[in-house]
Structures are given as structure tokens and as C-alpha cells.
């Protein structure tokens, strides 16, 4: 019987203070939130297994985005076989290191990478429904233009704007809109991708 599990012993050789993968940086604590991306096998229950790593420790995720992944080079994956998860969470470096290792330990998780402090492209989408009569429109449209937001629903008393940007910019955008009276706000949660040829 042959077994095609990847012999990755060497990659697991770690010095204290470092998480299992060489490009994981857990000791940079500049940002209060960490973003972890996971490549997982798209199996029933994988989301539960991932969230149990948090809930068991009494931790919460700030945001979680799950989406289908393309076939992965070298894994011979059929379409739909893998998913991406992007999780933002808070936590001290020790806990975060444990969380990442517990992710890696899950059979259905192919890899887990903490991107905190790494060069990444990140993005988040927001839909904002605002009370907007004739008097507010001009000012609202100016804000929208500045943030490259698009008005996707234009009504007599309300409008919906869609904005895709970094999380911090979206925060600023939403703050500017608050005085006008936000009726509803839906945000997608952060997604990101490592720059250059680094793996996400």
C-alpha cells in the first residue's frame, strides 16, 4: 500500500518563538487584529472544526469569509474540492500561534498562514443604506466619489452605496456617513492575498 501524504517533516522543524511555517510572523504585534488565511478541503464540517479552535478557548472571530478556491497547483484538485477561509481575530501572539498550529493539525486544513505584518493586498466590501432626501444627496455623492463608492440603489428617500476598499478606509467611509443616518450596514469581512509569488 502506498501513501501519498506529503512528507513535510523538515518544514515542521521549528525554533521556539516561530510558528510552523517559515513565512508565518506571529511576533509582530503592531495591528490589534490578525488576519489568517486558510486553504481547506471543502468537506462538510470543516467550518465547525475551524470555529471550534476558537470557541474552545473562549475566543471569537471578528470576521470570516469562505469562498471556493481554484484548483491548487500540485494538489491535483478538482474544481470545488478546496475552499479559502479568511479569518480576522484578536489575540496575544502565544494564543495565535496555538490557534494556527491547531488549524494546521486539522486533517481538512491544507495550510494556515498568519499574514499579520506581511505585504498583502486586502479588501472588504460594504453595502450601506442611507436615509437620503433631496438636501443630503449632493454631499453624499461627494463622499461616495471620494471613496470610489457606487450608488447601486437610488430611491426618493434612500440610497444604497457599495464600496470596496481596505477595512480601515471602509471604517472612515462609514463614519462619514453616520451623521446622515445609516439605516442598514452590511460588510463582507476582509479578504486578502499575499503580494508577489508568496502563497496566501
Amino acid at each position: 500500500m502506498s501513501t501519498i501524504t506529503e512528507p513535510r517533516g523538515a518544514e515542521f522543524e521549528l525554533d521556539p518563538g516561530k510558528a510552523p511555517r517559515r513565512h508565518v510572523v506571529t511576533d509582530v504585534v503592531t495591528a490589534p487584529l490578525h488576519t489568517i488565511s486558510l486553504l481547506v478541503r471543502n468537506k462538510p464540517g470543516v467550518l465547525v472544526r475551524v470555529s471550534l479552535v476558537f470557541s474552545r478557548r473562549g475566543y471569537n472571530m471578528e470576521s470570516l469569509v469562505v469562498s471556493p478556491a481554484l484548483s491548487i497547483a500540485g494538489l491535483g484538485a478538482a474544481p470545488g474540492e478546496f475552499s479559502r477561509m479568511t479569518i480576522t481575530c484578536s489575540g496575544d501572539p502565544d494564543t495565535l500561534e496555538q490557534i494556527i498550529k491547531q488549524f494546521e493539525k486539522l486533517v481538512d486544513v491544507v495550510h494556515a498562514i498568519d499574514h499579520t505584518g506581511q505585504p498583502v493586498i486586502e479588501s472588504e466590501l460594504a453595502l450601506v443604506k442611507i436615509k437620503a432626501g433631496l438636501r443630503e444627496r449632493t454631499e453624499l455623492l461627494q463622499i461616495a466619489e471620494n471613496f470610489k463608492a457606487k450608488v447601486v440603489d437610488f430611491g426618493a428617500e434612500s440610497l444604497i452605496m457599495r464600496c470596496a476598499s481596505e477595512t480601515e478606509k471602509l471604517d472612515a467611509f462609514v463614519n462619514l456617513l453616520k451623521p446622515f443616518g445609516i439605516i442598514e450596514l452590511v460588510r463582507s469581512g476582509k479578504i486578502l492575498m499575499a503580494r508577489g509569488l508568496d502563497a496566501t
Partner: protein, 574 residues
């Protein structure tokens, strides 16, 4: 005209059983039920032996005992709903102690999933936190692949239990899928050999040590690293201590062996750990029973950690070097890189502690559990497998019954599951045919006592030694030491007559109440191998396990006898 008889198409249940046969399974422990009927039907035509237990928890612990005694995965087959939930404690026990186990659970038909069908439970949902991995099979075609993956996952790397939930329509319907030999699990990585550079770093750290200690855990038992560790210890001139589950990896009667460390370890092992300048964990995980107060645990000592599970690194302590590897391979490759250390003074100091704090107990005032276990050790206990339950008797057995062979000591460590010892002994005895002493307390024994029927039916050579003090002794000890002796929920009033209880199952038994009768009873049980037998040792009601490092206290807070002054309530985990 003769019509050709149609080729019988395998059912899903047939396929499951055929896969078990291909994996080399000899015995399945379990309890039947509606949703598992097609699998039970397939067992009729199989050479696999099925053992009907008296409770699903018993089945899980028997499979666990089988696995710990042999290193092969134990297999459990139960039905849906309550059948499956009764296995949850068994899964936790196996997960905490890294025991390879396959648990097959029946499930309602797929079209009824989530609709509160009779005996339906969300079994994969209930068991996520207590399995290494699990599956809910919805197509019969998945059976061969899932079965192969399950055995691969359960037995490789850090072993653990894998659960497979099998809806009845999947096992009843046809399954034509071919058998699978390969496993493709891109997210599953098993370290084997350590990196050369880290081995050299380890050797360099060892070379600087003058007061080293090798701290050996269950990983060394699982990977059969004992010989290599003894070689390392003798080459270095370093003493060995082992955890409760590490007993047996290295023979405990070796002159360099100091016995068990930790909360109820020997005082000389604990003094050595307290004063060492280097501690090397081999297949051990710095458990809270071992470290005591973490901030004061070997603060100045160099720490080396060998483990196959990288998630254990930096979890509790931050070692100076971590070797991600199979324990045996790591130590075998390390031995040629090390040389004799100057440990003469260190070993002399340890010998002093050994003289200063021998394991001891009162010889007067009635029959003592320690005396019974001490005699068991002398009268051939070392040639038998010993299983224990959880509590005072477990600690006394760990102290007084020295284990000299790998896989001859079976005890629930991480989970501390009462009710484990007796069914585990049945599994171990059946698997090996080796005479198996099952040391249990009067509390834990009653939790799974119904398996007396199973032991009798299987003629398992299990020698049940009930350390009977009519108390939950460890609870009573804590309440005496830390809670002003305000006893609460500790008195086992209403115990049965265990000898008569055994007799009701046609199992011979003897009661021992005097120290002078102990040898005779042990010899009697040693000579009886036709099936199970029982000794009810009525020991003194109030006795304490010492040495003791109260939970959360540092090693320097170890007490070796009953303190004269009132003690603070322990702050550590339980």
C-alpha cells in the same frame, strides 16, 4: 433450463466489514441496534470476532485497552443516537491519551437526517471536539476511501480516535466501489525524522549539561523508543523519569530510572526535576500534573522537546529546541552525536534523595493498599499487564508496581476516566492473552461493572483487584487536606459485596482484610487463568497518597507526609 444464480452484490455493510478485514482487524467491540443492522448482518459472514459488551462505554474502553496493549487500532461498532453518545467518554479518553481507535456508528437513513428520526443524534456534531477526525458517509461509493483514510489517520502521527457515521440506507444499499489502497490527504502531515541541524543543536545543549533529566512520556511507548532512550541515558549518564502514561517505555527497575515524576511522583524523581539544569521531554507534553506551578517549573533549566505533534511545541513551555519527529527515530539518531557527561556528582545527589525519601507507607493500623500493590509487584506483577482505574489506587499502583515492559501499563491519564480500568483490562487481556491485573477502586469499578458478563463470556484472564476503601479516596484526601475535612460526595455507602457480585456472574473471588492474607490471594489469582477472577481488598478507609505536589504548587511545595498545618486550597487545574 437452469437460470444462473445472480452474483451477490455487496451491501454497504458488507463493504465496511470487508474493509475492516483488509485492515487486519481481528475483533470488534460493540453493541447492536437498529441503525447498524446491515453491518451486524455482514459480520455473520466475516471471520472478525464480534464482542457484545454490556454498555457502549465498555466497548469503547475495551477497544482502547486492545489498542494500548497491541499498538493496533481498536474498533468499536455501535448504533445511532444513544449508542453513539454512550461512546463519547471513550472517545475523549482515547483522544487525550493518543490511542488509535475506529468508532463506527449507525445513523438514521440519509433522507431523515436532521428530522429528529427515532434514535437520531447529530453524532458527528456531538463528537467534533473528541475525535482526531470524523466522517459522515452519505454515498456508499465513499466507503472504501473513507475506511482507508480513517485507519491511516487513526494510526499515523500522533494516534487518535476516528469516527465514521454510517446511515442505514448507505450500509443497506449496494456498494460496488473498489477497494482503495492509497490515501490522498493534502492537509495531513506526519513528521518522521528530525532535522540534522536541530539534532546537532540538541547534542550541543546536552554536552553542556551537568544535571540532566530525561522526561519520558506516552509518545515513547507509542513509538517503542524505550531501548533507544535507555541507550541515550547510559551514554550520557542521565537519569530517567517517566509520566504516568510513560510507564513501561523504559524498564523502571533500571538503576538510572527514578520512577514517575509529577503530582504523585516519587520524591527523588521530583527533587531531580526541581534541581536539574536540563530537561528533555521525549513524547511528553508538559501536562499540568507534571509542571505544577508553571512559572516556577525548572525556570533555569535548558528544555528540549521531542514530539510528533508540532502543536505541542510552545503550548505550555518554550523549549530551547524542538524536534518534530517520531520519538524512537529522533533518539536513535541522537545517540551517536552525544558523549558521556560529567554527571557523577548529580547521580550521587540523586542517590542521596533516593535514600532520604523512599516510597513508604504505614505497616500498622490495618490493611494498606500500598502493601497489596507492593506485594503484587514482588509476586510477578511485572510479568503481567496492569491496568488501573482513576484515583488513589491508580497513583499507588503507579508508585509501587514498577513496569518493566512496553505496553504493560494501561491507565487513563489525560481524561482521568473512572470506569476505564476494567473494560480496558478485558480488551488488553483478550488481545494479548497475557494475564492482566486490573487494579480498580470501589468507585470506578462500579461504573462499568456490568462488563463482568463480557469478561466471563470471553474467558479473559483478568485479575480484578478491587482496592476497596468504601470512599472516593482521592476526593476524601483533598477534602481532608484542603477543605477542613468537610467530606462531601465522597462516601460510597451502599457498596455491594464484590465477591458475591462476582459469584453472581460465576466468577471466583476472594476477600482480603489482613496483610497476612495478601500473598495467598495474589498467588491464587496468578494461578487462575481460566477466566476472570476477583480479589476484594478491604483496605483502611482513610489513607493518603504521598508524595504530593498540590495542584498549582511548585516542586518545592512537595509534601511527603501529612502536613501538621492547614493547607491552602490548590489553585491549579483540578
Amino acid at each position: 433450463m437452469v437460470t444462473p444464480t445472480p452474483q451477490k452484490v455487496s451491501s454497504g455493510g458488507d463493504k465496511v466489514v470487508q474493509c475492516l478485514e483488509r485492515e487486519g482487524v481481528e475483533v470488534v467491540y460493540g453493541y447492536s441496534g437498529g441503525a447498524a443492522m446491515p453491518i451486524f448482518d455482514a459480520l455473520v459472514d466475516s471471520r472478525i470476532k464480534f464482542v457484545l459488551t454490556r454498555h457502549e462505554q465498555g466497548a469503547a474502553h475495551m477497544a482502547d485497552g486492545y489498542a494500548r496493549a497491541t499498538g493496533k487500532p481498536g474498533v468499536v461498532l455501535v448504533t445511532s443516537g444513544p449508542g453513539a453518545t454512550n461512546c463519547v467518554t471513550g472517545l475523549l479518553t482515547a483522544l487525550m491519551d493518543s490511542v488509535p481507535m475506529i468508532v463506527l456508528t449507525g445513523q438514521t437513513i440519509t433522507s431523515m437526517l436532521g428530522k429528529d428520526a427515532f434514535q437520531e443524534a447529530d453524532v458527528t456534531g456531538i463528537t467534533y471536539p473528541v475525535v482526531k477526525h470524523s466522517y459522515l458517509i452519505k454515498e456508499a461509493a465513499e466507503i472504501p476511501r473513507v475506511m482507508r483514510e480513517a485507519f491511516h489517520i487513526a494510526t499515523t502521527g500522533r494516534p487518535g480516535p476516528v469516527l465514521i457515521d454510517l446511515p442505514k440506507d448507505v450500509t443497506q444499499g449496494p456498494c460496488t466501489a473498489p477497494f482503495v489502497d492509497t490515501v490522498n490527504l493534502p492537509g495531513y502531515h506526519v513528521p518522521d525524522r528530525p532535522a540534522r541541524a536541530l539534532l546537532e543543536k540538541t547534542a550541543a545543549l546536552l554536552a553542556k549539561s551537568r544535571r540532566p533529566v530525561l522526561y519520558v512520556g506516552h509518545g515513547a511507548v507509542i513509538s517503542n523508543a524505550g531501548q533507544a532512550i535507555l541507550q541515550l541515558a547510559t551514554t550520557l549518564g542521565a537519569p530517567i523519569v517517566n509520566t504516568l502514561l510513560g510507564k513501561g517505555a523504559c524498564t523502571e527497575d533500571h538503576p538510572l530510572h527514578l520512577g514517575m515524576l509529577g503530582m504523585h511522583g516519587t520524591a527523588y524523581a521530583n527533587r531531580a526535576v526541581e534541581h536539574c539544569d536540563l530537561i528533555m521531554a521525549i513524547g511528553a507534553r508538559w501536562d499540568d500534573r507534571i509542571t505544577g506551578k508553571l512559572s516556577e517549573f525548572c525556570p533555569e533549566a535548558t528544555k528540549i522537546h521531542v514530539d510528533i505533534d508540532v502543536a505541542e511545541f510552545n503550548k505550555v513551555v518554550r523549549p530551547d529546541v524542538c524536534l518534530a519527529a517520531d520519538a524512537r527515530l529522533a533518539i536513535e539518531e541522537l545517540v551517536p552525536l552525544v558523549r558521556k557527561l560529567d554527571t557523577a556528582d548529580w547521580l550521587k545527589e540523586i542517590a542521596g534523595w533516593r535514600r532520604q525519601y523512599p516510597l513508604k507507607y504505614a505497616r500498622k493500623g490495618g490493611l494498606r493498599a500500598q502493601h497489596v500493590l507492593d506485594r503484587l509487584d514482588t509476586l510477578g506483577g511485572r510479568d503481567c499487564i496492569i491496568t488501573t482505574d482513576v484515583g488513589q489506587h491508580q497513583m499507588w499502583a503507579a508508585q509501587f508496581c514498577r513496569t518493566t515492559r512496553n505496553r504493560h501499563w494501561i491507565s487513563s491519564g489525560g481524561a482521568g476516566t473512572m470506569g476505564f480500568g476494567f473494560p480496558a483490562a478485558i480488551g488488553a487481556a483478550m488481545a494479548t492473552g497475557t494475564p492482566t491485573w486490573c487494579v480498580v477502586g470501589d468507585g470506578g469499578f462500579q461504573m462499568t461493572v456490568a462488563e463482568l458478563a463480557t469478561a466471563k463470556l470471553q474467558k479473559a484472564p483478568v485479575k480484578i483487584l478491587v482496592i476497596n476503601n468504601h470512599y472516593l479516596g482521592m476526593i476524601r484526601q483533598w477534602q481532608e487536606l484542603f477543605f477542613d475535612n468537610r467530606l462531601s460526595g465522597a462516601d460510597l455507602e451502599g457498596n455491594p459485596d464484590f465477591v458475591k457480585l462476582a459469584a453472581a456472574y460465576d466468577i471466583p473471588g476472594k476477600r482480603v482484610t489482613r496483610a497476612g492474607d495478601v500473598d495467598k490471594a495474589i498467588k491464587w489469582a496468578m494461578a487462575y487463568n481460566e477466566g476472570p477472577c476477583l480479589i476484594d481488598a478491604e483496605v483502611v478507609k482513610e489513607d493518603n497518597v504521598f508524595p504530593m505536589i498540590p495542584a498549582g504548587a511548585p516542586y518545592s511545595g512537595m509534601i511527603v507526609e501529612r502536613p501538621k498545618v492547614k493547607m491552602e486550597k490548590p489553585t491549579g487545574s483540578t
